[in-house]
Amino acid sequence: MSVKAYQRKLDVENGRVELSHGAGGRAMAQLISGLFHQAFGNEWLAGSNDQSAFDVTAGRMVMTTDGYVISPLFFPGGNIGSLAVHGTINDIAMSGARPLYLSASFIIEEGFRFSDLKTIAESMGAAACAAGVYIIAGDTKVVERGKADGLFISMTGIGLVADGLDLSADKAKVGDRVLLSGSLGDHGVAIMSKRQNVAFQTEIVSDSAALHSLAAAMVAAGGGGIRVMRDPTRGGLAAALNEIALQSELGFHLQESMIPVKPAVAATCELLGLEPIHVANEGKLVAIVAPDSADAVLAAMKAHPLGSNAADIGEAVADDHKFVQMTTDFGGRRIVDWLWGEQLPRIC
């Protein structure tokens, strides 16, 4: 089927997505070739098959999948498209793997602007291109108005793990150091600043970024000394460390004074009654590293543009309760619990 057969071009500037754009007919083919293929531009999509074939090499591969349902779709520092690509790459990269290929499934609410869809798709293409990965498979569905919040994106990614590397959340050991790649809470605060009923002005932009090159630099410096890597997204650093504590059957002891938080993020959290350690990040990682590799890994992090504010924020400790604890700036010790439910603002 050739694009040239269509009489009218897709009106990207003023047009809207209609149910027919997901119905399997010509309108859908036009949307896919006219908008997505152009934005993602690669040889696999050009083939217009129901699947994409690629060669495999010997070794271990990783696979991950994630749904993106954020509100608002556009935020300071990115949009749902760039976020989806970064998020999926990061889930792959936390295994120490090199990300290779992504797939994207779009669920679009009818009436969605083509211009917004184009911006989002182009951000995805640009984010993938910058990271050296390809979006080689996709799907488009359109649902009736009110059945989706504008646009949902579901992404799957695969990557290749270097020989001998086996990072896993159950591998942390007592005495390991906890290394954090930079300041907490930037993404969550940037998103909250644009939510309809809590909008406020802030200079904070999302930290959304692909972390695979940072992870690779750390692996090169620390090798087998790196036990676990996680990107602390929803639930923040607190959730990431509590998960590792459960899996590895130990506790963590953090130093609040060592955890980088931007003043504007701290201020926003103070006002809304939230804690930066619970707020989402999209361009940060936490690594649990054997003590004798910690200095080398931290130096590699600091030498990388995405880790210039990296810090050693604490250590893994023996703890039957598997608590994450923190010595506060004030001197006391407290628990850093999982976030309960959703982050809700307080009354007064």
Binding site: G332, L344, I347
Partner: protein, 383 residues
């Protein structure tokens, strides 16, 4: 950032240690000092910063009922859910309330999942905006809180009247702090449950910015208890304890103002005027933990009755019993601590709350769960 310029100053470790030494030097080893911190904000500061570790063993802090979500009877949650289930209603709710359990364990969060129209809002202005955007719908604002949150509700109603927003009304649950303090002091049955005498109060922080310190004066005099109004930062709390210790030692029972950077004796006159314009006293209002307390709640004046959701939708007051094993009521009176409750931490957790004290951001159980489990666990093991 200018907006947090003056918070780290009130969390200074060295100054805190200095205050702790001063308290230690002034405390008499011959007696006990039992102080009620009225507000959940103080309870959380004490737990979060580990302030009890800095106090001498004979100074004990007792957690008071100053948490609006915790003292709200489950029946009011039931009433709100019934309201929200009406097809024409959109119920606007502060985030704190969303997880508070109703009498059957149901919450507004669950009601929302089941299709009730419930919106989480950050201020009364959100409710006004929603009413403007949805003509023909009944937008009901779930008004809750002590004197701090009452003025914004009053202003909202005045704006609604001015803009002729026919669809906006208020489900009013505003309560009064001095009445609750008075209740604790005057009723020996409430005061002495658990056999804990009270030697003084840390008075409310934010509430006092509105009401001032004057309303506490008759109580301090009548019951001969010192009251020190204090801010919510850790240094505020420590300084207030020092001021209370001094009053006790000198046999004084005065109202003192530690929070002078925000509180005056008269309070915020403008805010009080707005409130008295719109609200009047209810004869009585039910508090979890304190029962029916006379003159402790507010309702809309007759002239604003059309904005009163209880009148407008003819909803009747319900009476329901709490889970008998839940110790929230004794905890709210200061008679028990969260760890004295059998449900704490096993059946009752933030994910599966039995009582509101576990899910409100100002609740004592939430404070213990969030900040103190390690210490409490260690204490249990060594005792």
């Amino acid at each position: 950032m200018p907006i947090v310029k003056y918070s780290s100053e009130f969390r200074d470790k060295t100054i805190a240690q200095g205050l702790a030494r001063a308290i230690d030097a002034e405390v008499s080893s011959q007696r006990a000092y039992r102080f009620v911190e009225f507000c959940g904000g103080h309870t959380h500061a004490i737990s979060r910063y580990g302030l009890e570790d800095l106090l001498p063993a004979n100074v004990r802090m007792i957690h008071g009922p100053g948490c609006p979500v915790c003292v709200l009877p489950a029946s009011r949650i039931d009433m709100a859910i019934r309201l929200a289930e009406r097809p024409e209603v959109i119920l606007c709710v502060y985030g704190d309330l969303m997880r508070a359990p109703g009498s059957q364990g149901q919450s507004l969060l669950l009601a929302k999942a089941l299709g009730a129209h419930i919106r989480m809002v950050y201020s009364t202005l959100d409710a006004i905006r929603l009413a403007e955007q949805t003509p023909g719908r009944e937008v009901v604002f779930f008004a809750i809180g002590f004197e701090t949150t009452t003025p914004p509700t009053a202003v909202m109603i005045r704006i609604a009247e001015h803009k002729r927003l026919e669809g906006l009304s208020v489900f009013c649950n505003h309560v009064l702090t001095p009445s609750a303090m008075h209740r604790i002091l005057e009723n020996p049955k409430i005061r002495n449950t658990g056999g804990v005498p009270i030697d003084g109060f840390i008075g409310p922080a934010h509430v006092s910015t509105i009401v001032g310190t004057q309303p506490y004066e008759p109580m301090a005099e009548q019951f001969e208890k010192p009251i020190v109004v204090a801010g919510f930062e850790p240094l505020d709390v420590l300084q207030a304890v020092l001021m209370l210790v001094r009053q006790v030692n000198q046999n004084r029972h005065e109202v003192e103002n530690q929070y002078s950077r925000a509180v005056t004796r008269e309070g915020n006159r403008r805010a009080k005027e707005e409130v008295s314009q719109v609200f009047e006293l209810r004869e009585q209002f039910e508090w979890r933990g304190l029962g029916l307390v006379p003159n402790s709640g507010l309702k809309l004046k007759q002239s604003y009755a059309k904005f009163d959701a209880e009148t407008r939708f003819a909803i009747h007051d319900l009476r329901v019993a709490d889970n008998p094993a839940c110790e929230c009521c004794a905890i709210l009176r200061g008679a028990k601590r969260p760890i004295d409750c059998k449900l704490f931490g096993n059946i009752c957790t933030p994910e599966t709350p039995i009582g509101a004290c576990m899910v409100s951001s100002e609740g004592a159980c939430a404070a213990y769960w969030t900040y103190r489990r390690v210490r409490d666990e260690q204490a249990r093991q060594t005792s």
